[in-house]
């Protein structure tokens, strides 16, 4: 479906230095630095996948999305999506894709949402029947009925994002690019958006590529992660695999009847201790969680036990650290 091969892209950025003299000099001679936004990016995505694209700010996520959506032409490398080269056959290609920029609206600000939808219908030349069916479906699944007659400027961010996503799906795209679709949304809206992305992926088989900083998005949606940093592709694999690599540690929290002395558990590290509650981290490659609990129950009268995986955010931080980002 999507194949990128050795995509590289660099930008020339004018150097700006502080100071009046430097600024005056810059009027005549501009010094440029070359920023390599993408370096030799290679991956392929199959039909119907949801792929999470992650990386710290400025890593090249948006640039990749722009290359894949045909806005930018890379310096080197090839990209084939549904048989098209995005930047070559732009108009034919973009009919097949939907793009949502989380920070920019594609709706017309002062008019009701439905008017924007109708204009998009004309822009994409969507047949009336298809358009009707899609609007009905989207209205139902995204709960838009009360939003459609409202001018966009009066919508909350969460409401607007639902409309944005709906707008990008009116023309039945096969691939959907979402650039930070949950940025700035409250918890309820985030869950609604995630749920919807799952639904369209399952029911319509739309391939979804999303960038995000919210690891919960990834956890809820993506069965595959691409991590990019300094323009390089650093990780390509499933979240489970990442967990196995970095998430070998589990946290065990135990509550017990009062006990005056700290207990020791072979293979586990004590994080905190009170007379009724203790936290341990267990490296599962050295000690099984069950063994640790067994040791604990021998020494203590346990009331409650909770075992948690290392939060995904921490795994990502470790991953960033490993690549010194």
């Amino acid at each position: 479906m999507i194949t990128l091969n050795g995509i590289s892209k660099s930008f020339k950025v004018a150097k700006r230095s502080a100071g009046l003299r430097q600024a005056a000099k810059a009027l005549f001679v501009r010094e440029h630095t070359i920023v390599e936004a993408l370096r030799d990016i290679t991956f392929s995505i199959g039909k119907g996948e949801i792929v999470g694209y992650i990386g710290p700010n400025g890593a090249g996520k948006s640039t990749s999305i722009k290359v894949m959506s045909g806005i930018l032409v890379p310096d080197r490398g090839s990209c084939e999506i549904m048989g098209y080269t995005p930047w070559k056959e732009r108009t034919a290609y973009v009919k097949q894709i939907g793009v949502v920029f989380g920070q920019r609206s594609q709706l017309w600000w002062d008019v009701p949402v439905i008017d924007s939808f109708e204009l998009l219908r004309d822009i994409y030349k969507i047949p009336t029947q298809v358009y009707r069916a899609n609007v009905d479906l989207l209205t139902e699944t995204l709960d838009l009925a009360s939003l459609l007659p409202t001018p966009v400027r009066q919508l909350s961010l969460g409401q607007r994002m639902r409309c944005e996503i709906a707008a990008s799906l009116l023309h039945d795209p096969q691939v959907l690019f979402l650039d930070e679709p949950t940025i700035g949304l409250d918890a309820v809206s985030k869950i609604a958006v995630r749920h919807f992305i799952q639904t369209i992926n399952k029911e319509k088989g739309i391939t979804v590529v999303l960038t995000t900083h919210d690891m919960n998005d990834i956890e809820a949606l993506a069965n595959r992660i691409l991590m990019i940093g300094h323009g390089r592709l650093l990780y390509d694999g499933s979240l489970g695999e990442l967990r196995r690599r970095f998430g070998a540690q589990k946290t065990i929290t135990v509550e017990y009847r009062e006990h005056s002395l700290p207990v020791r558990v072979e293979g586990a590290e004590l994080l905190s201790w009170t007379a009724e509650r203790a936290m341990f981290t267990v490296d599962t490659s050295r000690c099984k969680v069950a063994d640790a609990i067994a040791q604990l129950s021998e020494q203590l009268e346990l009331v409650d036990v909770a075992v948690e995986a290392t939060p995904i955010d921490e795994i990502i931080v470790q991953l960033y650290k490993e690549h010194s980002l």
Partner: protein
């Protein structure tokens, strides 16, 4: 075409949200050419004529130039304000839609408030025609329409070139106003009152003279020899548009390969 109509509808609906602002703008804007015209009126009041040009002849010239200029401002506003579209990233959005960038930029803005200036120019046009003793023929009517359309083409061309420059830099584009506003101020008087280099520049480089002065001679029966040539000179304006469109295409290509 159908899509452009849809664009206009949605833009009109947007404007309708701000009624008072719209009417104030429309009325206020029509005052600008009025003051310009008042200048001409009082000048003729004082001096009687300009070279061998009579008041109503100059008024006709003024009206035609202002009409095509304001019409173009209304239609091609998207190019006039194109730098904002590049700065706020709206152009990326246009690129992911399956239509030509040209039509989409045209459709991104329409200055409805220009209706004030347009009607002022129309009234002036008919008033000047009513007071001139012109033997109207079909050919002359066509010429007059050509003058208006071609005038629009030239201004649009300059807008498009200026907008194309936004792909390289968004700073210092005020210079284009010399050619649009400046050109308009020049062209509202018959070209032969100016010095030689002005005439040459506005005939061969930016051909305002071809769409305004020369065909005006034909309409006023001041031509020597064949009138056909004078009648068809406005087409130069359309020709002027072609290289401008090429520059635009080149600019879009450049944007795609540099981005942000």
């Amino acid at each position: 075409m159908k899509m452009y109509w849809s664009y206009l509808r949605i833009l009109f609906k947007s404007i309708a949200q701000y009624r008072l602002s719209f009417w104030l703008l429309a009325v206020g804007q029509s005052l600008t050419p009025l003051t310009g015209f008042a200048g001409i009126y009082f000048m003729f009041e004082r001096f009687g004529q300009l070279r061998d040009w009579q008041f109503y002849e100059v008024a006709l010239c003024f009206a035609v130039v202002h009409l095509s200029y304001t019409l173009c401002e209304a239609f091609a506003r998207g190019f006039d304000t194109f730098s904002t579209l590049v700065v706020n990233g709206g152009f990326d959005r246009l690129l992911v839609r399956p239509r030509s960038t040209l039509v989409q930029v045209l459709g991104s803005r329409f200055e409805f408030a220009r209706v004030g200036r347009i009607s002022f120019s129309l009234i002036l046009l008919f008033w000047a025609i009513g007071n001139l003793d012109i033997a109207w023929t079909a050919a002359k009517v066509v010429t007059l329409l050509l003058m208006i359309v071609s005038g629009m083409a030239i201004v649009a061309g300059i807008y498009i070139v200026t907008a194309s420059l936004c792909f390289w830099t968004v700073e210092g584009l005020e210079i284009a106003n010399i050619f649009t506003d400046g050109g308009r101020e020049m062209a509202q008087y018959p070209l032969n009152i100016y010095g030689k280099w002005v005439k040459v520049f506005f005939t061969y480089v930016i051909p305002y003279g071809c769409v305004n002065y020369l065909p005006l001679l034909y309409i006023l029966d001041r031509t020597q020899g064949s009138g056909w040539l004078y009648m068809l000179t406005p087409l130069v304006g359309v020709v002027f548009l072609l290289p401008c469109l090429l520059i635009w295409r080149f600019g879009v290509k450049h944007y795609c390969s540099t981005g942000s």
